[in-house]
């Protein structure tokens, strides 16, 4: 067994031939020397030697390498057999390809999001994302710079700890202002992630906090390519961001888009590049809590140990600065694949479940292909029996039959690979209307290819091993003797066929049930009242805060926008806000209600939004008490708040909230109104307290919200032009009807139900064709028997009953097993449901009825055919 088998094998085959030739030659020479003629000597030597190919064959067996040659022979044989039945080959390959593609597609999405949370980062498995306070599915940045620096410098468990904050900004200086996503990062950001620049350098440690330094910026690879035409001399050049000159010092490598899974950064800059964030850098609470934090575990340190270490340090910080750390401060760490910051929190709750569905589809397909294969082997029983009596042993026969399945599945895998190249990229479709720079997509890499190889080999084995095992155990002599068709079915084959049909029904039921529940969830979500009226609303984002205008200019432009847009024909009301509900984003801040004593460990976080007058009116959110904001609630006026019912009930139960005071960012706000609760992020969220502030007092981003008379989409160009007329340099983007934006909140529900629905449809088709095929086949096998029965006086109804009953049994057992399986599986998706229980009786009953009816219908056709046969021809038919 030395050397590489294939090369050695050919050489050794040649050598054996030479060895035998030499043997014969010597025998001939000896005989000639004894006086025989050359011709008789040659014949005698050959006779004495015996069957040369056989000697070669048994000798080769001794090498222990014959399997390779045999494999080659078996593959060729399998291909020949498959070519002989193109119908089966095409059907089985297509079904397997679709099922494998379903798996590899979902897997490529998992690979592109959860498994590669930060593309380009070294050992992403060691990275952890940090969360402070109550664990939350959609948290806000956890730390202030000072807290972050204390944790970074004092911990003993992390090899590195980076922090960042990102937001939109405008690239000015070019012909057209361009909105880009920029991240303020700590100097060690790229080091901790293990990223090397393709050009220039990254930040130095001393640049982290120096406000006097020239602001340096690092470009992402794609921005460098698109806006700067991949200029090789870009390093050292000055560009303009929000009308400030900054110097490019480096370009990040291709593929790296930042440290928050699912979001794309275009630029990186230090934390306080212009010296304008001094306040943020020197405080520990309020607006200074702005940094997202990612750590890299030290060698041999577990996530639990690191969390313990950081939590202890945080506890010391809380003791040292208690006023800055009211509420809950516990530190928790998550691996990046399920980090609640960015997209992976949502992905981790959805994609593994979809993969489980896809796996069920693959199993189901295997069962279906296995029935086809078994029927095929039964029809080839004579060929198999002949080969067996000619000396092929069972292992050889089985190997060949399994190989046919494996060849099929390899072809199917190749087809699935080609398909997945495309389907992996369809993931982004589900997040199109996002106002964040989403970078969500499937990734087709070597891991997905390995996955496809594993899926297809498993599938190939699964769908051929059982039929092959069964067929290779058919008694050869009986098969050859028996001319009657009746024996061919064989009671054992019948059992296997029945088992496979039952499996298909049992596997498709949970798929149908889950998809039914998810589809009804989607409908419930769409029908749910979010608490605001979103039809006839158009929103447009104006990048005022990021375009480099002074504060006074911003205020003037905002009023101009309101005046102009309100005057447009077709516009009923115009308002301003800095947040759109149900877009997967929210703002949150710690709030300290005066006179309220929090429970121990109670989070004081409230959601907040800054809205202009007429906001509530245009969205039809009722003001239950007090008043709405007026144009007089501006910077000069006392700070005011409108709270929602949740906040009012939590902080002032049984009291009148009007006139009460709340401290946020160290400022006192007076409650002037109470608004009715409305949806913030998801229809099925647990309500969080919400406070609305006056846009002209605290507004940051500028989103114009217009209530239109007609279709809001028709007004989009008019509104956009009206804003641009004020100042052509104003960046205006995301101009779209509100309903389009709020669809983002149900994008995951759409994803879940779309895939589950598709898988369930595949499952239904497979199960129904599976039961149809088996009942039709078995009925055909029993043609003769049925003919005899009818000749002996059985009525057509008797025949119909005979066949139908058979199908009914199989369906019944399948449904019973499937129901047990399904009710177990729906617990997996219970968290994804809304407005419907995981065991919702109506859905369960309708799904069972649907599958039962379809199966019975599938049985009816063969039964009907059998019933209509002429008994005389049926008896003659063998």
């Amino acid at each position: 067994m030395k050397g590489f088998p294939t090369f050695g094998f050919q050489r050794r085959k040649r050598e054996l031939q030479e060895e035998i030739d030499a043997h014969l030659q010597m025998a001939i020479t000896d005989r000639v020397a004894r006086g025989e003629t050359a011709e008789t000597a040659r014949q005698a030597a050959a006779r004495e030697f015996g069957n040369i190919p056989l000697v070669q064959d048994v000798t080769r067996d001794m090498w222990g390498q014959g399997w390779l040659e045999q494999l080659g022979r078996d593959v060729r044989y399998a291909l020949r057999q498959l070519r002989k039945s193109p119908g089966f080959t095409i059907t089985a390959t297509t079904m397997l390809a679709v099922a494998i593609c379903a798996n590899s597609t979902v897997f490529s999405w998992i690979e592109g999001t959860m498994l590669r949370p930060i593309p380009g980062a070294r050992d992403a498995g060691d990275l952890v994302s940090l969360q402070r306070g109550e664990r939350n599915f959609s948290p806000v940045p956890p730390l202030s710079y000072l807290d972050y620096r204390d944790l970074r410098e004092q911990n003993h468990t992390l090899a590195g700890m980076l922090a960042f904050h990102h937001d939109w900004i405008t690239l000015t200086g070019g012909a057209q202002p361009e909105r880009v996503f920029i991240a303020n990062v700590t100097a060690n950001y790229f080091d901790v992630l293990g990223i090397k620049p393709v050009l220039g350098r990254f930040f130095l440690a001393e640049e982290e906090t120096r406000p006097d330094a020239v602001p340096n910026v690092i470009l992402s690879y794609s921005l460098w390519k698109t806006r700067y035409a991949a200029d090789p001399a870009i390093v050292g050049k000055s560009i303009e961001i929000a009308r400030h000159a900054v110097t490019v010092i480096g370009v990040a490598p291709e593929g790296f888009v930042g440290a928050m899974p699912g979001l794309r950064d275009d630029l990186w800059i230090t934390l306080n590049p212009l010296g304008t964030s001094e306040w943020r850098m020197t405080h520990r609470s309020g607006g200074a809590v702005w940094l997202n934090v990612i750590g890299r575990l030290g060698p041999g340190v577990s996530r639990g140990q690191a969390a313990q270490d950081l939590d202890t340090l945080m506890h010391h910080i809380v003791l040292a600065y208690p006023d800055d750390h009211l509420g809950e401060n516990r530190i928790t760490l998550d691996p990046m694949w399920r980090s609640p910051f960015g997209a992976n929190g949502f992905m981790a709750a959805t994609l593994p479940i979809l993969l489980a569905f896809a796996a069920v589809v693959l199993l189901l397909t295997c069962a279906n292909v296995a029935t086809l294969t078994l029927v095929r082997f039964v029809s080839r029983r004579r060929e198999l029996a002949i080969r067996q009596s000619l000396g092929a042993n069972r292992t050889q026969l089985m190997r060949q039959m399994v190989l046919e399945g494996v060849v099929l599945s390899i072809v199917a895998g190749a087809a699935a690979l080609a398909l997945t190249m495309w389907t992996s990229k369809t993931f982004a479709w589900f997040f199109r209307s996002s106002s964040s720079p989403t970078a969500l997509n499937g990734s087709m890499d070597y891991k997905v290819m390995i996955g496809i190889a594993v899926f297809s080999l498993l599938a190939g084995m699964l769908c051929s091993a059982l039929p092959a095992w069964r067929s290779s155990h058919a008694p050869a002599i009986e098969v050859l003797k028996a001319e009657s068709a009746s024996i061919s079915g064989g009671s054992r084959n019948r059992k296997l066929l029945s088992g496979l049909v039952v499996a298909q029904i049992a596997l498709s039921l949970p798929l149908l049930l889950c998809s039914g529940l998810l589809l009804r969830t989607l409908r419930n979500l769409a029908d749910a009242n979010p608490g605001f009226e979103q039809d006839h609303i158009l929103t447009a984002t104006v990048g005022l805060n990021i375009a480099g205008y002074s504060n006074d200019e911003v205020q003037v432009i905002r009023h101009k926008i309101l005046d102009r847009v309100s005057a447009l024909p077709g516009v009923k009301l115009a308002s301003l806000t800095d947040w759109i509900p149900m877009t997967l984003t929210h703002k949150a801040e710690d709030a300290y209600p005066e006179g309220y004593v929090p429970h121990p460990h109670e989070s004081l976080q409230v959601y907040h939004a800054e809205v202009a007058p007429q906001y509530f009116e245009s969205l039809h959110i009722p003001i239950l008490e007090g008043r709405e904001f007026t144009p007089d609630d501006d910077e000069k006026a006392p700070k005011v708040l409108i709270v929602d019912q949740t906040a009012a009930r939590r902080y002032w139960p049984g009291q009148d909230p009007l006139g009460k005071k709340l401290r946020i960012w160290g400022m006192l706000f007076t409650v002037v109104g109470v608004a009715k609760n409305s949806t913030h992020m998801f229809v099925n969220e647990a309500p969080e307290p919400m406070v609305y502030m006056s846009f002209f007092q605290q507004g940051y981003e500028t989103i114009v919200q217009v209530k239109t008379e007609g279709n809001p989409a028709d007004l989009a160009p008019v509104v956009e032009n009206a804003i641009r007329e004020i100042d052509t340099r104003l960046p205006v983007f995301d101009v779209r009807p509100m309903r389009e934006s709020t669809q983002l909140a149900s994008s995951l529900a759409v994803l879940q139900s779309a895939l589950a629905g598709m898988f369930a449809l595949i499952g239904l088709v497979l199960a129904v064709t599976g039961i149809y095929g088996v009942v039709a086949y078995r009925t055909q096998m029993r043609t003769h028997e049925i003919g005899v029965r009818m000749a002996l006086g059985a009525s057509r109804v008797d025949v119909l009953r005979l066949v139908l009953l058979q199908g009914l049994w199989l369906t019944g057992i399948g449904l019973a097993l499937g129901l047990a399986f399904a009710l177990g599986l729906t617990r997996l998706i219970a968290r994804l449901l809304y407005g419907i229980g995981a065991h919702d009786p109506i859905t369960v009953v309708s799904v069972v009825l649907l599958l039962g009816t379809m199966s019975l219908l599938a049985c009816y056709f063969p039964a009907h055919r059998a019933m209509r046969r002429n008994p005389v021809t049926a008896i003659r038919e063998l």
Binding site: L16, I20, M26, V58, L390, G391
Partner: protein, 121 residues
């Protein structure tokens, strides 16, 4: 049962013995397959006729177990042939085969030649 299986069975029957005979033949010097057949026939007085279908599988098996080594050489009659040579490991194997064979012969002999009075007692 096909021809191939029959060959296999015959090897099995003879296995220990054929291996031992081949190794013994190679004790007298390196030899090719044809030479081994001739040598065995001569030494056994034409009684042992080894079939090629047993010999070559046996030789290749012995080589795989490193009991013999092979190399291509010219024979006396200028014929290029594959010569097998016994290895040190093969010699050890031969000794143990021989010991076992002697015990078997002895055992069979003692069964076959039992004196009637001894069996009676």
């Amino acid at each position: 049962m096909n021809e191939k299986d029959q060959y296999k069975n015959r090897i099995e029957l003879l296995q220990g013995t054929l291996d031992m005979l081949i190794l013994q033949t190679l004790q007298w010097g390196p030899q090719h397959g044809y030479g081994i057949v001739q040598a065995l026939r001569l030494r056994s007085g034409d009684v042992l006729q080894v079939e090629t279908g047993s010999l070559y599988p046996a030789l290749h098996r012995l080589e795989r177990q490193s009991w013999v080594q092979s190399e291509w050489k010219q024979s006396e009659s200028k014929q290029k042939a594959r010569y097998y040579r016994i290895t040190a490991k093969g010699k050890k194997q031969l000794a143990s085969d021989l010991g076992r064979w002697e015990r078997i012969v002895e055992a069979i002999g003692s069964v076959m030649y039992i004196k009637p009075e001894e069996s009676g007692s």
